[in-house]
């Protein structure tokens, strides 16, 4: 299937043995080492890899936009036969935007905040074409309409902060497409966007590329995205291209061990927490051999009865191998002779949230009457697009902010009545802890890992410095896989995964009954994410904690949570057992969300380019 795309004899872009070196305080670092790639006209080439693999550096090298510290130290980049590495600044400027265009991650910060989007598109046009001001404006209007921005006449005079992230990305696309370039480089174009927006943006990007016979380089950490939209995929690791092939080949029969690890660590619609590492992270396997069950790779639940609370336990029982459900904290389930469920004597839920409303001034309603329960030891997922109120709910529930109205009962106490400003004095503070999104930003840079973990123990449990505190901190750290040699380090001396572990160790230090996880793995690479998810899953079983798990990644929620709540514009549209909800969603909004998850099917024979074909 890639044959038709690559038959073109002279590729549009040909990179040969590219080396890029960065000068750092610790000496030169080779960010890209002998990379060779080719992109043909009409082709979409994916470059996947984790942070630090050199994929963005390669893209910036093609654009010659490396910052001062970075230098191309070897190799060639031939674009339409011309070696870009030897071009002067004037020739480069003529090429950039006109023949070579790039779309960046984080569209909002990539647009000039004090210039209207129309002016910015017109700037690009006028840089390469002899157009009058009004002609450029008119063309900008066409371009905005071309990227499906509604009411382009209105939007053309909008500033970036007045547009959503998805809209800003479309404006970027309009700018990049303005002069009809031959090659478009898209560097993580949809990171930070909702799945549905991601799908809309990517579909459109792919359609534009096909329509105009351009070539595209899609740089992403999301294997699903690469599988769905690319003709060929190059996998990069530590500055090297380790494997290049069609996505079907790369993802179903990866030949390089790194690709195999990457594929295994990427959540798919059928993966389970335990299956996230094919090779197995030695650590998690050694610590908990019983966690690793073979799993059912198909993930199809036979004879599933869609149901709500009554059937809940039954479903949990059936899907036990895939969904981490039955654990010490749960009530035992009994079946009678005919196999039907005997409703067990359920204890009252750990937390009951009723009619939660959060209204900001000027009538912006972030949360509009949400009610739900969290049972002891249960894990509940909150999903929804940005602006759906999931983070607000998480913050209200862990009593960092006060709701406008609504009650929150926790463990028999009405904690909703306690103001958030004094909740740190409440006895329940130690029972509700939170793991924050960015493990780097949520740690005090002047606290060592030990101090960070000891902090809640000192403040909430009143432990004084001494053996007791030290033992407790070390115990938490060990539980979270932090060796004693790491405990004295400061956040900047730890890797992303290690910081995440510190954040988790800090949260579990007071042995909370409820842990709130606000996108705990969003900032992590997939392989690290896999390990952290396994850690979280194991901790919950061991300590019998309940989880409220907030994430935009539906696959993560499906694996981690027994029950899932889907939010839209501050209201619950659907909730139920994860196994049911993800296989048979009833609400169209949920269906849209689930359908929008880009995915690949490792081991499946069908080429995963169906989506692409449909677009072409």
């Amino acid at each position: 299937m890639t044959g038709e795309a690559t038959i073109n004899a002279a590729p549009l872009l040909e990179i040969e043995n590219l080396d890029v070196t960065f000068a750092t305080r610790a000496g030169p670092i080779d960010a890209v080492r002998g990379v060779s790639l080719a992109v043909a006209r009409g082709e979409i080439l994916g470059i996947v890899g984790e942070s630090g693999s050199g994929k963005s550096v390669t893209a910036l090298a093609i654009m010659r936009l490396l910052d001062r510290a970075g230098r191309i130290t070897g190799g060639s980049i031939r674009f339409r036969g011309i070696d870009i590495t030897k071009l002067g600044t004037t020739d480069l400027r003529n090429l950039r935007g006109a023949a070579l265009a790039m779309i960046f991650q984080n569209p909002r910060s990539c647009l000039n905040p004090i210039r209207t989007v129309g002016d910015q598109i017109a700037d690009t046009l006028r840089a390469h074409r002899p157009l009058s001001r009004s002609a450029a404006k008119a063309r900008a209007l066409d371009l905005l309409a071309g990227v499906l921005i509604r009411e382009p006449e209105k939007r053309i005079s909008a500033y970036p902060h007045e547009l959503s992230g998805g809209m800003c990305q479309r404006v970027m696309m309009a700018m990049a497409m303005a002069c009809e370039p031959d090659l478009l480089i898209a560097d993580e174009p949809t990171t930070g966007l909702d799945v549905t927006t991601q799908k809309a943006v990517m579909d459109q990007l792919a359609a534009l590329v096909r329509e105009r016979g351009m070539a595209m380089m899609l740089i992403t950490h999301d294997l699903g995205l690469a599988a769905q939209y690319c003709d060929r995929v190059a996998v990069m690791q530590q500055g090297l291209v380790v494997e290049t092939a069609a996505p079907a080949v790369v993802f179903s029969a990866p030949s390089h061990p790194y690709t195999r690890r990457l594929v295994a660590a990427s959540p798919t619609p059928t993966s389970t927490v335990a299956s996230l590492s094919a090779e197995g992270t030695a650590e998690s396997r050694a610590a908990h051999p019983h966690d690793i069950n073979s799993g059912n790779p198909k993930g199809v639940i036979p004879g599933l009865v869609p149901g709500t609370h009554g059937a809940a336990a039954e479903v949990s029982a059936i899907v036990a191998p895939w969904v981490p459900a039955i654990n010490a904290g749960m009530t035992p389930v009994e079946l009678d002779q005919r196999g039907t469920l005997l409703v067990p004597l359920t204890p009252p839920p750990l937390m009951t949230v009723a009619n939660l409303v959060m209204r900001y001034d000027r009538d912006i309603t972030a949360v509009a009457g949400v009610s739900f329960d969290i049972g002891a030891g249960e894990s509940v997922g909150l999903v929804g697009e940005s602006g759906s109120g999931k983070s607000t709910i998480a913050r209200i529930v862990c009593r960092l902010i006060d709701p406008t109205t609504g009650t929150i009962r926790f463990d028999g106490a009405d904690i909703g009545a306690m103001p958030a400003s004094t909740f740190h004095k409440a006895t329940q503070r130690a029972d509700i802890q939170i793991v924050f999104q960015d493990p780097g930003d949520s740690l005090n840079p002047r606290f060592s890992a030990f101090d960070s973990i000891a902090d809640p123990l000192r403040r909430l449990k009143g432990l004084r410095d001494g053996m007791a505190l030290r033992t407790r901190v070390l115990e938490c750290a060990t539980r979270c896989g932090l060796g004693p040699e790491l405990i004295a380090r400061f956040p900047h001396q730890l890797s992303g995964g290690q910081r995440a572990r510190v954040g988790i160790a800090r949260a579990i230090a007071t042995q909370p009954k409820l842990l709130i996880l606000d996108e705990p793995t969003a900032a992590l690479d997939v392989s690290v994410q896999a390990i952290i998810l396994q850690l979280l899953d194991r901790l919950r079983r061991e300590q019998g904690m309940a989880y409220l798990f907030v994430s935009h990644d539906l696959n993560v929620i499906r694996m981690m949570c027994e029950r899932t709540i889907v939010l839209k514009q501050g209201a619950i549209v659907e909730q139920g057992q994860s196994a049911v909800l993800f296989t048979a969603p009833t609400d169209p909004y949920t269906q849209g969300l689930i359908a929008a998850i880009p995915h690949f099917e490792p081991g499946s024979a069908t080429p995963p380019s169906a989506g692409r074909r449909r677009l072409g």
Binding site: I114, R115, D123, A127
Partner: protein, 343 residues
């Protein structure tokens, strides 16, 4: 439309919220003047051999025998009716004195600020475009020098070089050569008044008197402006949207001049406002060195003479100017940055 409305609303709230600060300044200066040593009654009695009775009489006439709170109340009532009192040294109402002298200070400060900005912006931009290079170090050196040398020293140096040695500048005494004919007073700004009167020679004479003191002050405030421009430009040049502009192939001039500079100007605007207010009050040394008839030297003279009213009037004036300048900066900021109107 809506932008304008939001700006005026913000201006209104800002103005109202600054009133308590103004009141605080007035009360504070009033009390400070009373607490400072020096008895105006003694000072203004007929002479060193004035008798006790005469001093008491002066004190009674000046109202200084009344309780402090009563004096304060009277003072506040007077301010509310626009009466700032009468200077005992000049014998004029303070308001008239200030009206006479404020244009001189404003003209000097404005010119100095414009001069400083025309120097600081290119220097800051040049330094930001070549960080760590020779230009950067040269600009840093010049700024440090400007800030290190006190204004009276640099003023005297300039006078020595341009008046005494080279003879290019007129003698540094006042706003206008004594033989020159002052233009009819309309705004009080000599440059503007002579422009209105279409009097080129007077204008030129006034400008030549102005240039040395203005340069002295400009040198002093060069550092904060140039350093801020550099820092702000560097931050903006490293931001994502500059990379985007480069990736779209915009010309270097457009990237630096339109994309980077306009964004970098926002913090510089704030600093310029603060610098302006500070200069207006702190240029007393320059006014003294160049015999400039401005408000700062007026206030200093009054302070030395224990003349309460001009000092209090001056402090009130400075506080009001500070409020007005900050309001202006706020409005300009709202126009320059579309994101401001949102909150």
């Amino acid at each position: 439309m809506t932008t304008l409305a939001s700006i005026s609303r913000r201006t209104g709230t800002r103005f109202v919220s600054s009133l308590p600060a103004l009141l605080g300044v007035v009360v504070f200066t009033f009390i400070l003047m009373r607490v400072l040593p020096g008895d105006p009654a003694v000072f203004f009695a007929s002479g060193p051999n004035a008798g006790k009775a005469e001093i008491e009489e002066v004190r009674r006439l000046m109202g200084l025998d009344q309780p402090l709170l009563y004096q304060l109340a009277l003072y506040l009532r007077d301010i509310a009716t626009g009466n700032l009192g009468r200077s005992l040294t000049t014998g004029q109402p303070v308001l008239a004195d200030i009206q006479q002298r404020l244009p001189a200070s404003l003209e000097l400060t404005f010119t100095a600020l414009v001069l400083a900005l025309t120097l600081a912006l290119p220097l800051g931009i040049a330094a930001a475009l070549n960080p760590g290079k020779l230009v950067d170090h040269a600009v840093r050196f010049a700024c440090t020098l400007g800030v290190c040398v006190p204004t009276f020293v640099s003023g005297l140096l300039l006078i020595y070089a341009f008046y005494y040695l080279l003879g290019w500048a007129p003698d540094p005494t006042g706003r206008l050569d004594i033989f020159a004919q002052a233009p009819p007073r309309i705004t009080g700004f000599l440059l503007i008044d002579s422009l209105i009167a279409r009097d080129g020679t007077t204008g030129l004479a006034a400008a030549s008197q102005l240039i040395l003191p203005a340069a002295t002050m400009a040198l002093f405030v060069l550092a904060p402006l140039a350093r801020m421009t550099r820092a702000s430009m560097l931050a903006v040049l490293g931001s994502d949207f500059i990379r985007t502009a480069d990736a779209m192939g915009l010309s270097r001039a457009r990237v630096v001049g339109v994309y980077a500079l306009r964004n970098a100007m926002l913090p510089v605007l704030t600093i310029a406002g603060i610098v302006f207010s500070t200069m207006l009050g702190a240029n007393v040394l320059v006014e003294k060195v160049f015999s400039w008839p401005g408000v700062a030297s007026y206030a200093l003279d009054a302070l030395l003479a224990s003349d309460y009213a001009p000092v209090q009037g001056f402090v009130l004036l400075m506080a009001s100017i500070f409020v007005v300048v900050n309001l202006t900066i706020d409005v300009l900021y709202g126009i320059a940055d579309p994101r401001i109107g949102i909150e």
